[in-house]
């Protein structure tokens, strides 16, 4: 596993962004856990690329990190918070406050405007709303700034979500994940529905905005070719020592 260069910032003293210990997870009805991770530490500010074959459990791991799923066994800590000790509502709150998520596709709520889509996390998390307001004056202004930074011009904002290209949709999703500067950004194959050029553009923008907000990025894909853009990369098959392997 490639480690990032130590960063010369106060983040060094901070707890690791992610720390897993002896974690297993099985979906309801599954006999053998799909996931067994003895140990995983991701430092704050790291930009980690995780690759692995389809069906190996990458999305499941992201579900655990975001607190949507709970480990059957083991300890899951994010930003120093022990998620396995929190109740459901507290985990949801933690995710709203500290985690941004980008999916592979269909990232947007069809009946909301682009601006409203970007603002969703600020509606569920007062902390994200407050941080966005501190950065830009108001959450709406923060959303506009982010959209502009992600090359989405103002005339697109009034469009129906369905009328955006896939690449544009993914950039809106990135703005939503980034608003209010969450400490951890989780991206689950956000580029796999984009063509090669678009993929590189999107990745550059995403990495730049992560840099700006100082968020830790965990980026999952089965396309190893993207690994070079990241500060570190990990093979999911090596992380996941599930039984029978």
């Amino acid at each position: 596993m490639v480690r990032a260069e130590p960063r010369l910032s106060s983040e060094e003293a901070a707890p690791p962004a992610v720390s897993l210990r002896a974690v297993s997870f099985a979906w309801p009805g599954q006999e053998n856990p799909v996931l067994h991770i003895p140990e995983l530490t991701i430092k704050a500010g790291e930009r980690l690329f995780i690759f692995g074959p389809s069906g190996s459990g990458k999305s499941t791991l992201l579900g655990l990190l975001s607190g949507v799923l709970t480990a059957s066994e083991g300890e899951v800590s994010v930003q120093g918070t022990a998620l396995h000790k929190l109740g459901g509502a507290a985990r949801d709150r933690f995710r709203g406050d500290h985690v941004g998520v980008i999916f592979q596709q269909f990232n947007l709520v069809p009946y909301l405007s682009i601006l409203e889509n970007v603002l969703i996390p600020c509606r569920f998390s007062a902390r994200r709303a407050a941080r966005a307001a501190r950065q830009a004056g108001s959450a709406a202004l923060a959303a506009r700034n982010l959209l502009e930074c992600l090359d989405l011009r103002a005339e697109l904002w009034e469009r129906r979500v369905a009328h955006l290209s896939v690449g544009q949709q993914q950039r809106v999703a990135a703005a939503r994940a980034l608003i209010g500067g969450p400490e951890l950004l989780i991206a689950d194959e956000p580029t796999s529905s984009l063509d090669a050029d678009r993929r590189r553009d999107f990745l550059r923008l995403l990495l730049r905005e992560c840099e700006n907000s100082g968020s830790t990025l965990i980026f999952v894909s089965h396309d190893q070719g993207l690994a070079a853009e990241f500060s570190s990369a990990a093979n999911f098959e090596e992380l996941n020592r599930r039984a029978g392997r």
């Binding site: 499941t60 799923l69 949801d92 999916f103 709520v109 009946y111 007062a126």
Partner: protein, 434 residues
């Protein structure tokens, strides 16, 4: 303490947002949901309209006569007496004596009394012998008075005042000459051909049996029967109309006596005295109570109607639940997005419940609007022709209960898709596929 209020404020903001989302989502799928809203609207209109018509019909039935404290007649069925006195139905086989009527009228606690004498008819409409007081004393539906549309009360012996329906059907106006029939058969043989009547007045529509009756004076009733005995004219005895005035036209008996008391609290005392009447077997009936009994007899169809409209509501609500359930499949993605942004499974439940409830409220509001429009459009016609007063007015307790019932049942129904979404969002995690 401050934390608690802050938390509560945050919950309120969150709830408002979920409500906003629910509205946006419903509006986005308005094409599909329109039919659901429409069916809820129609069932609301049906149920409330039915309730309104029912209460109005009941009211105009039960209050067909008001202001009368006691109806006195020969002892027999109480309801039969009401049919005589209020609906003018039935041949009066069972009369009370005029003497008893006079002594009741003379009691100090009796304010007024109006006699009713049945027996004759005109083209199937009952002819009622009474006094001119009838037109001033009779009250219907909450104290409304009879009013003459044309002409006036009796001034001559052979004057007749007709109800609005009778006049309309036969085109009677003051001055029209009409022939009465003996009994209620209307048979040609038993017509009072020799003593034609002249219409002196036509009453305004009341929506009560008065519309379907004709009124003559007790003396006229007596006069046309001078040469009759046992239901047929006495052979060879002919008395011309100009001769009848020489006879004593005081009646020997009447069918019923409508009595108004000076003080209502005396009704029971009078009722008691009438029950113990020495000269003949009499009875006194309080109209409100008796009319209620009759209504219960004739209104058994009511429950069936309510059952049917209840079922209509049920289908409407089932349609609502299934429309939302059907939409859930394609919305799993959207729910996963909200979850990823910090929504709790409970928020998903609230969102879906809000959406259902919004549709329900929209349906109910449309239903109420439709009802108001219907009342405005049909109210005047119904009031004129059936005497059913259907006004646009704030809902009564019965209607409020119905509305509350629909809302409560609807809310419970909305919880079904909401619960399903809750379960889905728990099971899907972040990986919900479309």
């Amino acid at each position: 303490m401050r934390n608690l209020t802050a938390a509560r404020a945050a919950e309120m903001i969150r709830f408002t947002y979920l409500f906003f989302l629910a509205g946006k989502s419903a509006w986005n799928r308005r094409g599909t949901l329109l039919l659901v809203v429409l069916s809820i609207a129609l069932s609301t209109t049906l149920l409330l309209g039915l309730e309104r018509v029912r209460t109005q019909v009941r009211e105009s039935f039960v209050q067909a006569v008001s202001g009368v404290d006691l109806v006195v007649g020969a002892r027999g069925g109480d309801m039969q007496l009401m049919l005589y006195a209020v609906f003018h139905l039935g041949g009066a086989t069972n009369n009370m004596s005029w003497k008893s009527a006079l002594s009741i009228a003379a009691r100090p606690d009796v304010a007024w009394s109006v006699p009713i004498s049945l027996g004759d008819s005109h083209n199937g409409y009952p002819v009622v012998g009474t006094s001119a007081d009838f037109f001033t004393r009779y009250r219907f539906r909450g104290g409304r008075e009879l009013q003459l549309a044309q002409g006036g009360s009796f001034s001559d012996l052979f004057d007749v005042v007709t109800g609005s329906e009778v006049a309309k059907k036969h085109g009677y106006v003051p001055g029209s000459r009409i022939i009465l029939s003996h009994g209620n058969s209307g048979a040609q043989l038993a017509r009072h051909e020799d003593k034609p009547f002249v219409v002196s007045g036509v009453l305004r529509p009341t929506g009560t049996p008065v519309d379907r009756s004709l009124y003559i004076s007790l003396e006229a009733m007596e006069a046309i029967h001078l040469n009759w005995q046992g239901g047929a004219p006495i052979r060879g005895l002919e008395i011309r109309p100009d001769q009848v005035r020489k006879f004593n036209l005081e009646p020997k008996s009447i069918t019923a006596l409508l009595v108004g008391m000076k003080s209502r609290s005396r009704v029971f005392a009078l009722q008691q005295d009438i029950r113990n009447w020495k000269e003949e077997a009499l009875t006194g009936v309080m109209p409100g109570v008796a009319m209620d009994q009759i209504w219960r007899l004739v209104s058994t169809g009511e429950q069936a109607l309510f059952l049917v409209s209840g079922l209509v509501i049920f289908t409407g609500l089932a349609g609502l639940a299934s429309a939302i359930l059907a939409g859930l499949g394609e919305r799993r993605r959207e729910l996963a997005i909200l979850r990823s942004a910090g929504a709790r499974p409970l928020d998903i439940l609230i969102l879906l419940a809000c959406e259902g409830f919004l549709l329900l409220c929209a349906g109910m509001a449309c239903g109420l609007l439709l009802l108001v429009l219907l009342l405005l459009a049909l109210g005047p016609t119904l009031a004129d022709s059936y005497g059913i007063a259907l006004h646009v007015s704030p809902p009564g307790t019965g209607e409020l209960l119905l509305l509350g019932g629909i809302a409560a049942a609807g809310f419970l129904t909305c919880l079904i898709p909401a619960w399903r979404a809750y379960r889905l969002s728990l099971a899907d995690g972040l990986t919900a596929s479309t």
